[in-house]
Assembly symmetry: D3
Homo-oligomer: 308 residues x 6
Amino acid sequence: MGDHPTFAGPRTFLQMPATLPDGSPPEVTVVGIPFDLGTTNRAGARFGPSAIRDASLMLVDGDHPEMGIDPSRALKAVDAGDLSIVNGYLEETLDLIEKQVEGIDNHLVTMGGDHTVTLPILRAQAKRHGKGISLVHFDAHVDTWKDNFGAPIGHGTPFHYASDEGLIDPKRSVQIGIRSPTDRDIMSYTTDELGFTVISAEQVHLDGVMKVIETIQETVGDNIAYLTFDIDGIDPSQAPGTGTPEVGGLFTWQALAILKRLGGINWIGMDMVEVAPAYDHAQITAFAAATFMWTYMCLLAQKNGEAG
Amino acid sequence: MGDHPTFAGPRTFLQMPATLPDGSPPEVTVVGIPFDLGTTNRAGARFGPSAIRDASLMLVDGDHPEMGIDPSRALKAVDAGDLSIVNGYLEETLDLIEKQVEGIDNHLVTMGGDHTVTLPILRAQAKRHGKGISLVHFDAHVDTWKDNFGAPIGHGTPFHYASDEGLIDPKRSVQIGIRSPTDRDIMSYTTDELGFTVISAEQVHLDGVMKVIETIQETVGDNIAYLTFDIDGIDPSQAPGTGTPEVGGLFTWQALAILKRLGGINWIGMDMVEVAPAYDHAQITAFAAATFMWTYMCLLAQKNGEAG
Amino acid sequence: MGDHPTFAGPRTFLQMPATLPDGSPPEVTVVGIPFDLGTTNRAGARFGPSAIRDASLMLVDGDHPEMGIDPSRALKAVDAGDLSIVNGYLEETLDLIEKQVEGIDNHLVTMGGDHTVTLPILRAQAKRHGKGISLVHFDAHVDTWKDNFGAPIGHGTPFHYASDEGLIDPKRSVQIGIRSPTDRDIMSYTTDELGFTVISAEQVHLDGVMKVIETIQETVGDNIAYLTFDIDGIDPSQAPGTGTPEVGGLFTWQALAILKRLGGINWIGMDMVEVAPAYDHAQITAFAAATFMWTYMCLLAQKNGEAG
Amino acid sequence: MGDHPTFAGPRTFLQMPATLPDGSPPEVTVVGIPFDLGTTNRAGARFGPSAIRDASLMLVDGDHPEMGIDPSRALKAVDAGDLSIVNGYLEETLDLIEKQVEGIDNHLVTMGGDHTVTLPILRAQAKRHGKGISLVHFDAHVDTWKDNFGAPIGHGTPFHYASDEGLIDPKRSVQIGIRSPTDRDIMSYTTDELGFTVISAEQVHLDGVMKVIETIQETVGDNIAYLTFDIDGIDPSQAPGTGTPEVGGLFTWQALAILKRLGGINWIGMDMVEVAPAYDHAQITAFAAATFMWTYMCLLAQKNGEAG
Amino acid sequence: MGDHPTFAGPRTFLQMPATLPDGSPPEVTVVGIPFDLGTTNRAGARFGPSAIRDASLMLVDGDHPEMGIDPSRALKAVDAGDLSIVNGYLEETLDLIEKQVEGIDNHLVTMGGDHTVTLPILRAQAKRHGKGISLVHFDAHVDTWKDNFGAPIGHGTPFHYASDEGLIDPKRSVQIGIRSPTDRDIMSYTTDELGFTVISAEQVHLDGVMKVIETIQETVGDNIAYLTFDIDGIDPSQAPGTGTPEVGGLFTWQALAILKRLGGINWIGMDMVEVAPAYDHAQITAFAAATFMWTYMCLLAQKNGEAG
Amino acid sequence: MGDHPTFAGPRTFLQMPATLPDGSPPEVTVVGIPFDLGTTNRAGARFGPSAIRDASLMLVDGDHPEMGIDPSRALKAVDAGDLSIVNGYLEETLDLIEKQVEGIDNHLVTMGGDHTVTLPILRAQAKRHGKGISLVHFDAHVDTWKDNFGAPIGHGTPFHYASDEGLIDPKRSVQIGIRSPTDRDIMSYTTDELGFTVISAEQVHLDGVMKVIETIQETVGDNIAYLTFDIDGIDPSQAPGTGTPEVGGLFTWQALAILKRLGGINWIGMDMVEVAPAYDHAQITAFAAATFMWTYMCLLAQKNGEAG
């Protein structure tokens, strides 16, 4: 065991420093985006980054038990703190997020915030890596709505705009865990028109995780890929701390079993969104979110040649 | 998306009106029964109807993602409010419930209240549709006890009386999710004497949902059938907001996967009972209950010829 | 007692109808504003109206024990539901609120929502009643900041703008319960430059409620007056369900003792803001908010000649 | 300090035994009544006795700091467990309570249960001690309603029946903390017709506890007196764990300051009612209830000549 | 049903007496150990015994629905209360526990307390039954660390010492549910050096419970075996009330399905540890813990020839 | 307002840095001690420092409204993080704390941890400032017990040892808020033998804060003084998040009114102990604790000549 227990010490993600001690540039940057103006039901994802950081302390000081990797040791990684936002102003904040993300020139892992933040992140990622990114998208919702209860932008619209702007390539993208009420028009727009591969939560339960992994790998292929993980993809019993929960969701073991087998994907970034701690209980949602991020970082470390 | 977010507007079930705008008779009536005098452990199901109504707002304005139906648009349905009760008086309330249910001459969907309320509902349903109704019964408990800790009636006794009075036909009825401590006498009375088909929660987990669906369909056949859904059939992790939880229960995805495939059953009514919001967390129990009711209404709409 | 218990029946404010049964125009209109984009710390006031309505059921069916008035019987009052908002868009929503309030031509009582909503309400009230309104303002915060963490408008800025636009007359206005950290510049702007009479929470505790009542009456005089009640004026122990609590606050008994003695004021409207139910416990914040509104309506009924 | 910490050992009230070790008859018997069928809003007082017993462990092993008495050492007292009830049946339970209380021939201290239980206790006490008992009654509600939302008996009716049957003498009885909505008819029935001395919560706050003590002593005089303590007399911030809270209530320090100075009263029994743990937080309501009972037992010990 | 509801009566485990009424020696003794000084993250397991006892009331008065056994009737069993501890002193308490356990000469079932307590229990069990005990160990953690954040002993170290002292035979022991971050050195020490059979939570999910049962039976064989059940083996959604939760865990149905099929094992004792009620919700963790203990006692009763 | 909202940015106390940007030595050092092995009832104060830091974000960026001081701007102050502890080992940790405190040569403000930590702090302070320190001690408990349920040291014993070792001068020390059960022997030891001035919570309520201030000033005089603030001095309604709450406590407004008037005292250090977030609600306990520390730092800044 390490030298101090999990309830002590700095409360950054995995207790990573803000800058590397030797002044070298990091390989991975973790940032928080304390923002929830795009939520349509329960707000509170502004406190998501703090909650995930606190939960991550349970993951400090130990290797992934099966992958044999401790990502905070295996990677040159920093927790660079929170991005600035424009309090109360949605579109202005999205612009500001985009600008800040553009300034980060290494592998970015983001803690939201609501799902609206993925749009400016993808805009910045597309500038850096090129358009047509594959999306691996865990969520209860397709998030391809064309409006947000009459307003143009919200947490249900990012992938409509990202598709529309060509940032992502829906035909090489997969959505996993989908199960919310959705107008058949939107569903058909998502699958037929845009071309997303949609795997419902029920399909994951009935078909098993190995089949899902295969579908993801086949759909994404060797395209550059971005992981966007809306915590409400997970069942409300395991992730109550979120704004728009839907019953019948994925179990954390399924998401972890899928994620840890996606090392072959050509990842360019990740976000973990919609953690709303006011609705969490005993930190279980935040633990789940932190564990998904930690597992993703293990994948990155594997790439770096870290033995498992 | 609709024209106002889920945290605004009227708080009836699916925001349905109390009467149809055009004055026509409804096809489906939803009512609440704020009653919990029959509970044997934790009270509080009197607040079940309010909690389910609030949770149902998340289901307004969208089709079932796989069935392609929005039941509040597909059906002429109303939320007629709460039935009257006699505060503090169990048997008097049961009589009053029966009388009120008799006055509703369309398809009735009830939000309990504790499970005691199913007895007067079945009495009224049997008057209207005839005796020998098939019960499709999700529950952790068989609810065929012959007494309630010494008193004659409680939430553990409805199906003893319903069998005894011939309201239901146990031989064509199925109980799913059973797992509570139960004297072997009561268990043998239930299965051997009365003839219920009992599917334990463990069996659902081990055999899979497809097998359960088959058993239900075979047992019920083309008899008229009533769905009584005690939320404690679901695991306490997904439905903590109830009075007599038992661990090892069904998952919501299983119940939903079963339910949505029971469109062929000849349904005459449904109740959703034992939601006790004081023990819920982040509304997850209420979301589950509302989603089961919503799915049941999709089945009714399917019957009406609504395309999916 | 009435004919059904407090856990049954419609969940509007005091179970008041949306329109009067006889079609006559109401004397008092209650509306909700499910909005919280202006909050600077914990969001969630969007659910304030629902929570206050539910809590108000405890006040149905009974006279104020000392004033001898039941305002829902003594006044022709309606709960007209929730105002529309533009989800995610702050300034657009404020404009929309203003327009909707302009359309209500009787005595308006509003359930927020965060404190930002008072600005458009005052704009509409000033159009109808004239500028230079006296504010009677319960709050932990002066809410006269000139910006919202760099952005122009938020829940800390309404009375800067309301003063600036002449909507209110700070010199005939009182703030009660003030105690948050506040830059000395803002404090001196509030008291010296604008001329607000500021009564700190400590002063209420040390000087007693009778002295506070006297100061309010002297400051407001016979001017038209608007009551804006931020629930965080109350101590966090009695009103935890709010976004920016400050310890050392007023007790509900003090606020009630003050309020019920302000019948002589020339009231033109009221709002009850910043109730954030996700942080409430056992509904106590919502009960407090509902009781303040109920007491205010008793004052209105007294004016109408209702004997106490 | 004692020999084991407060989180260990038996969980009876003050860890008192069920019978005295030497087989001698007790001076004081504490019993629980796990009953809440009479509640009109939130149920759950059935768990009150358990919660109070657990909270009382903090009071084991120590003298009252000002009275210098440890009642569990100073008195021969037992916790005789819970009375039997008829689950689900209100009137039958009241009869059964009465019969059981009649069988206890020493000083009885009861943990409710809702306030309905005081009626059968008073019936039994009047048989033993004579009618015309003085009531010292802490409560937010007068509890003299003549019906319970249409039904004859509930937790709002005990003192109507107790007055009607002559069990208590309202003219020598005091109600402290009253503040709920109450029809003026009921209020006038209570004070003018029956003759109760009613001290509102606001009066306690404005006049101070010494004045209240004086009024109680003057009103009760040397009559036999029964203490009935509804925990909702206390403010919801200090006693959220109850069914019908009303804001603006007494503080625990006030109730304790009053109670500990009432040693001169001729007490014949006490009940502590309406503790509903499902709505409590961090046991604070239960701690308050246990402390009131503990203080009452100190009064009894003082009578016994125990030095302070 | 029995003669009183689950919310009444004594609150010992399964309402068992402290000594048998006929004075005969018990076959099974249940004790609590209110101790949590060994925890490395969230404390609070000191309240575990109380919480489990309360939860067990739901299991009183009924047979296991599939095994047909009510263990409190089938076995001569007592709840002997809580062991003494030395408040604040870890090693002194372990010694005291060992001494007390040595004094119990029948089948011991323990409610912890944190996992540190298993070490002194195993020391006492090895004195009585001999060394080289097989461990059947449900847990998220291997608990074979050689230190506790620098200190020698804590809740992560018991099986290092138990192996080192020869109390257990790791080569005939199984760990089920393992999934926490663990340095590869510790993992290889556990499996390769000590020889534990480790079944990860993911393996249980992917391989199914029947395979797990087989592995346990093969590994343990006919050796004497001790069941140590750390509640954090279960997923945090079903057991939030614990100190070091890890997502992706076992479901209660899986643990129950495994446990009830292990009747052939030669059991010598059990402990149920790490239940921390402050983090529980609606008692679900405590219900799980009580149900595991109840099921274990059914296994013991089966051995005794009790028919199912 | 500042440049980012309270839900963003670093989570140190008042967002103070770990070292001053210009490398100069600080005037004030804040540290956390994540330790709770000395608690006798509910554990969890190990998370106190994190909770207080989070709550302090609400106090960043603003002057004390009456004192006109922002202590994080007025003082050269740092948050130096958490002291090391020996996990699970009480006496070893106390020694380690003492050693670490000795290494801090400026004004120390500590966030506990349970009250045991005050003993090693006082030992270090006495080495630096001399023995015979005056204690200004807010608490529900005298904390002069000579043992901890049989063990030598715990959170009820620090001032027995501190007196015994001459670290503090009880005759020039004051305890405020005392009200827990306390054996008359201990009470008389505290007041008569040691000579503490004890002001009960009731006295504060009855006599008023001005009288308390006077008593403190007279008792302490110009002696060096240490402020030890046990959050359970505050009433459980305002500070539920603590281990050994006692009803009838001080209100935060009283403690603040007292504290802010103690600028004339010759302060040498402060600790804020016994904040146990697992029992807190909506952060209200942590807000109180942070506000007391913030106010104390305002006193220090006043000394420094900072104008108000």
